[in-house]
Amino acid sequence: MSLSSTETDPALREEASFAVRMGRMLLADKFALIAALFLLVMIVLALIGPVWLGEEAIKQNLRGRNLAPFDWSRGWIWWMGADALGRPLFARIIVATQNTLMVAAGAVVLSAVSGTFLGLLAGFSSPRVSQIIMRLADVIMSFPSLLIAVIVLYLLGSSILNLMVVLSITRIPVYLRTTRAEVLEIRERMFVQAARVMGASGNRILFRHILPIVFPTLTTLATLDFAYVMLAESALSFLGIGIQPPDITWGLMISQGRQYLTNAWWLSFWPGLAIILTTLSLNLLSNWLRIALDPVQRWRLEMKGPSHG
């Protein structure tokens, strides 16, 4: 019929699936690619580490303490040297990966979920409720995280789970504020109005229309936060109110190696390096995400990618 329009298909180009496009964009950014691979390795190590090297990591040998790194006579597991109890650092770092990443991941998930939920609530509900939530956020914000740590760990005892709780509490406001701000903006958008005109319920609008739009921002934020939480965790361990031995995290390893820094630098150097590389990768990845998920800046990546048109 005459109507099936003159403006035909140039605009209607077929588009590769989301995954494929992300893949292309990842290839386009060398740094991000390396970062992603590195993190992948870390995750794998976190999964298999304890099974693989759990034994070696706790086998003590007071004779071979503070063994220097790159001493190939002792076998590959010793290449990073040994700690104050003669345990191979390499094994310990690998085993610690699990706790370190688990704590961080747990904390990020906890804070992201609860923060986002509260944010949606604050952004979409009555001004009063919103006010209450925001005040709550302020309180948490100005609540010294160390105090939270001491309180929670004193009352609930120090365990990996509780540490997650501690770290997540302090991060909730970040997600809360971001989400709320976004919601306030998005709820005025046309397609939300359109949904209202169709008679969509509040929940439907919130979760079907608003949340998906906020999501990219949150993912980027979470990636960045993962790095932050890792640092926070290590800081807590450093002050002696984080994870406690015999559990190990990289942060704890640093603080244990600290006193040897002048005469056995490797004790805290390797875990320090592990933290830096991981956080760096996360930062790189989140930067890449920020661009990749932003339709306005995306071309920067897609241009470099294998052009297909």
């Binding site: 003590q60 007071l62 001491v150 004193y154 120090s158 600290r258 002048t262």
Partner: protein
């Protein structure tokens, strides 16, 4: 490698001392860096190490003082002499012509007031704890004579007097921030968080010390403290990490009167069984720690008090490292129906002493080697206290509390009651014979006293197997080469500037 250096340090150190000490004594200011700041400078709190280190015998003096360098025992300080009267009380004859740093003259009334302050319930003076369980009254005989009556009689009162700092009568019944004392130094500057400065005063009764001015700095990090002496930012750091003690010219190790042990809670199975307690002791390879996680110079402990203490019992031999024996004992206990498989928790305090983490992890490993089920739990100081002292939590599992006890006072009475008497706040058991011995020993004097104490020590170690005694620790001091100073067992709690010479 560290090992050889340390011993080197000792030898060289000693040589240095003997060689150089008598030579022409210069004088001048010095800087001392300490691990934690004194949050108070209250004389009656001087028995707390971080305070005592600064003011004890420097600003505030005591009637008597304990000779920690030689074997002289209790020596006169503000009291010239003292005697025990027939009724078991004590009369002290005070030094004359002594002035407080505020100019007022020192006399018996000041002593009386000092005592009232310590005992007062308007302030919580720490020194009070040494007089627990006794009532004390003072009678001023004349300006320079004072009688001190204790109920019950207190044979070691002269020693106790080395813990009571004398303040002028005018001192209020509240914590003071500017301590006034009769000592060779007076406080001239205190900038919280930064520094405390002591300077000599001209009207001191005794001989003028070489150090004219001492500036105290505070750094939490041991390697930083060591570095500061190395870089000349400080002249003396009484406690540095063993690892940094690598320079024989400047670094000295010293027995620091701290004793590390695992307090056993006898009230819960399986720890209520002596075989199990023995097994614990046999399963730990104490020697392996020496020169590795614990400094070379450390001494394996057979008592909770250091060897320099009255009544220390050389006859008591520490348990050998005997895993087989431990296993055997466990088997026996098990056969006798003792639930030896119940997991036992070691509770330790993070940053309690150097390498605490590693040491505890090692001990855990060794005990597990012998067939124990051991959990390890690190807690911060406040929480540790709740495990260490009574009242103990109800329904707790079997626990070993790792702790460090300090007794540099030369007499076991400061330890035994608290750690072993049925009523002792950190005592993990109750044994009538122990109670009896403690009571009699505290009342006795002279050789009798010594005999009873060593009897107790032996009984606790061999028969009761009261706890797992580990080490008498050594500390390390870094002393700038321009100083002439050798740390003593008391250095932790008292650092007499007058004993420091300058080359």
């Amino acid at each position: 490698m560290t090992r050889s250096l340390i011993s080197g340090a000792l030898i060289a150190g000693v040589a240095l001392m003997t060689a150089l000490s008598p030579v022409m004594a210069a004088s001048g200011p010095i800087k001392i860096v300490l691990p934690e700041e004194a949050d108070l400078l209250e004389p009656c709190m001087a028995t707390r190490s971080n305070i005592g280190r600064i003011i004890m015998e420097n600003v505030s003096e005591t009637l008597t003082e304990l000779d920690v360098r030689g074997k002289k025992g209790v020596m006169p300080r503000l009291a010239e002499k003292w005697e025990q009267t027939a009724d078991g009380n004590w009369r002290f004859h005070l030094r004359q012509g002594v002035k407080f740093s505020d100019g007022s003259a020192f006399d018996a009334k000041d002593v009386a007031h000092s005592f009232d302050r310590v005992m007062s319930d308007k302030i919580t003076c720490e020194s009070k704890r040494y007089f627990g369980g006794m009532t004390i009254s003072t009678t001023v005989v004349d300006d320079h004579t004072i009688d001190i009556k204790t109920q019950p009689a207190q044979p070691i009162l002269p020693l106790l007097m080395s813990l009571v700092t004398i303040v002028p009568e005018s001192t209020p019944m509240a914590f003071v921030r500017e301590p006034v004392g009769t000592g060779p130094y007076k406080l001239t500057n205190w900038t919280p968080g930064q520094q405390i400065v002591l300077e000599t005063r001209d009207d001191y009764w005794g001989k003028k010390p070489a150090v004219t001015k001492a500036t105290y700095l505070f750094r939490a990090d041991p390697s930083v403290r060591a570095a500061m002496v190395q870089t000349g930012e400080a002249d003396l750091s009484p406690s540095i990490s063993q690892l940094d003690a690598t320079n024989p010219k400047t670094d000295f190790s010293y027995l620091d009167s701290e004793t590390v042990y695992l307090r056993i809670d006898h009230n819960t199975a399986p720890l209520n069984d002596v075989r199990v307690r023995k097994a614990l002791n046999l399963a730990i390879d104490r020697k392996a720690f020496l020169g590795t996680l614990v400094p070379e110079g450390a001494v394996l402990a057979t008592a909770i008090v250091p060897p320099t203490t009255l009544g220390w019992n050389p006859g008591v031999k520490q348990f050998p490292y005997d895993v087989a024996g431990a296993k055997k004992l466990l088997a026996e206990a098990k056969a006798a129906g003792v639930p030896v498989d119940t997991p036992i928790t070691i509770i330790a305090r993070s940053a309690n002493f150097p390498n605490v983490t590693e040491i505890m992890e090692a001990i855990q490993a060794q005990l597990q080697e012998a067939g124990f089920k051991i959990d390890l739990k690190f807690v911060e100081v406040a929480e540790h206290e709740t495990y260490y002292s009574k009242p103990f939590k109800e329904g707790r599992g079997p626990q070993l509390v790792a702790a460090m006890h300090d007794n540099s006072k030369g007499d076991p009475s400061f330890s035994m009651f608290f750690k072993y008497a049925s009523k002792g706040t950190q005592s993990g058991f109750s044994d009538p014979k122990v109670d009896d011995l403690i009571q009699r020993a505290s009342a006795a004097v002279g050789d009798e006293r010594a005999k009873l104490w060593s009897q107790l020590i032996g009984y606790l170690h061999d028969d009761v197997v009261a706890d797992v005694l580990l080490f008498h620790m050594v500390g390390f001091a870094r002393v700038s080469e321009r100083l002439d100073f050798k740390p003593t067992i008391a250095t932790n709690s008292m650092l007499q500037l007058s004993e420091i010479g300058i080359k």
